[in-house]
Amino acid sequence: METVDLDQADPDFVKELAAQAGGGEISACFTCRTCAASCPISALNEQFNPAKIIRMALYGLKEEILTSDFIWLCSSCYACQERCPQGVHITDFMTLLKNLAVKKGHAPAGIKAQMKLVTGEGRIYPLDDFDNKKRKKAGLPELPTSCDAIVRLFPENLEESGIHL
């Protein structure tokens, strides 16, 4: 059994979480572990345990959670959230933790790459002429290979790239 070092705890973390979607209900958790028992990831990898992560958050172990690899193992399948007898929005809570980790600069390369593609190109699989050729051959209508709207939705990306509208 590991010892929890509460000197590392941030007592305001629970309040910070409570102010955001998914973070407000965790204090209702009574540790029944229905979430862990329902989780397809916990079944294969003991590094990931939603009940434990909720407990860690309630203890204020912010730094440890947000720099961890394990929050990224959640498959967001909602099995836990649908079954939680206390109405904790566990999947939304996991998404919130991932969002907070990204804000602090901790994100797996794959997640960063998807973010860059989607906010840059408007799609995770941008389409090119070759795709349209294959679509046409299959009898499917052609689709646009570029997206004008995305720069207006995310103008901050443009500022970073030095282009001005």
Binding site: A107, I111, I124
Partner: protein, 290 residues
């Protein structure tokens, strides 16, 4: 019946067999699917990175449909879920809606009431119904044993999908498959996730989740898997060979979209159902049953 067709990112690039079969089945059933050139990513892939950015993408797409006075029909379960979630949220959060509208303004768009979002399978189950679907059938698929994989986001989170099916005992896809005469076989872990969302983070773990279900379905005696999401198809169809190699097992389990199964029963040509594009070959299965 008319819907704005939401294809998302994965389907037009990687699941043309799904798109083709869905379009052809829709045509048989008189569902008009309107192509929307301006639709972009639904926001699902960036939920983990930035929920607000994800909502902005969702709201943009919903506002485009609203502008045309159309509800949305999506083929991908993750698109259906992400768009429904944004729509659900913006119904209740006026402040967030205003923030989003500030961004949409430069595109001349306005999010008002948004649009209703339904998965194609849900449209078939709820709005078309058994009689109208069976009216189009020309072939009896009796003898074919199908294991249905619901996946996660077709049904969950249940409140954004109006609880249209029971997440703990789903029936909608079973019922549609059974219309064809095919037998739906049960197997342990039917409700379990495909593992796909973990793929960009931990490929080995994602594949291990996928393998569990392939093991269970294989043991059930099913001839094929039926699913309704291109992400799930990447895991079960696209990655089946890699899993067989990695774990030294053999499945040879064809993975069909619901629309391909219904299309076969409707007598639609195999090529027009994109069956030649399925990774695990379907030839043997089709010779036997269709």
């Amino acid at each position: 019946m008319k819907y704005a067709l939401f294809l998302g990112c994965t389907i037009p690039a990687r699941a043309r067999n799904y798109e083709l079969s869905a379009r052809n089945v829709a045509e048989k059933l008189g569902i008009e699917l309107v192509d929307m050139a301006k639709f972009i990513c639904c926001g699902f892939p960036i939920k983990a990175a930035d929920m607000e950015a994800s909502e902005l993408l969702g709201a943009y797409n919903l506002a485009l449909a609203e502008e045309q006075g159309l509800d949305i029909c999506a083929l991908c379960s993750s698109c259906t879920s992400a768009l429904s979630e944004t729509s659900h949220l913006l119904t209740w959060d006026e402040e967030r809606k205003n923030r989003i509208n500030e961004r949409l303004e430069s595109l001349g768009l306005q999010y008002g009431k948004g649009a209703k979002v339904k998965h194609f399978a849900r449209v078939l189950f709820e709005e078309i119904g058994a009689d109208q679907i069976q009216d189009q059938f020309q072939k009896d698929l009796s003898g074919l044993k199908i294991a249905v994989h619901y996946g996660c986001h077709y049904l969950k989170p249940s409140q954004v999908h109006d609880h249209f099916d029971d997440v703990e005992d789903p029936r909608s896809i079973d019922a549609l498959v059974e219309l064809t005469g095919a037998q739906v076989v049960d197997y342990p872990g039917k409700k379990r996730c495909c593992g796909g969302p973990v793929l960009p983070v931990d490929e080995k773990l994602a594949m291990a989740v996928t393998k569990e279900k392939l093991d269970d379905i294989s043991a059930s005696g099913a001839d094929a898997i039926c699913l309704v999401c291109p992400f799930c198809s990447v895991m079960y169809d696209g990655n089946q060979k890699s899993i067989e190699a990695e774990y030294n097992v053999s499945y040879n389990l064809p993975v069909l979209y619901l629309t391909q199964i219904l299309g076969l029963a409707m007598g639609i040509d195999r090529k027009d159902l994109g069956l030649n594009m399925n990774v695990v070959k379907t030839k043997e299965l089709l010779e036997k049953y269709a």
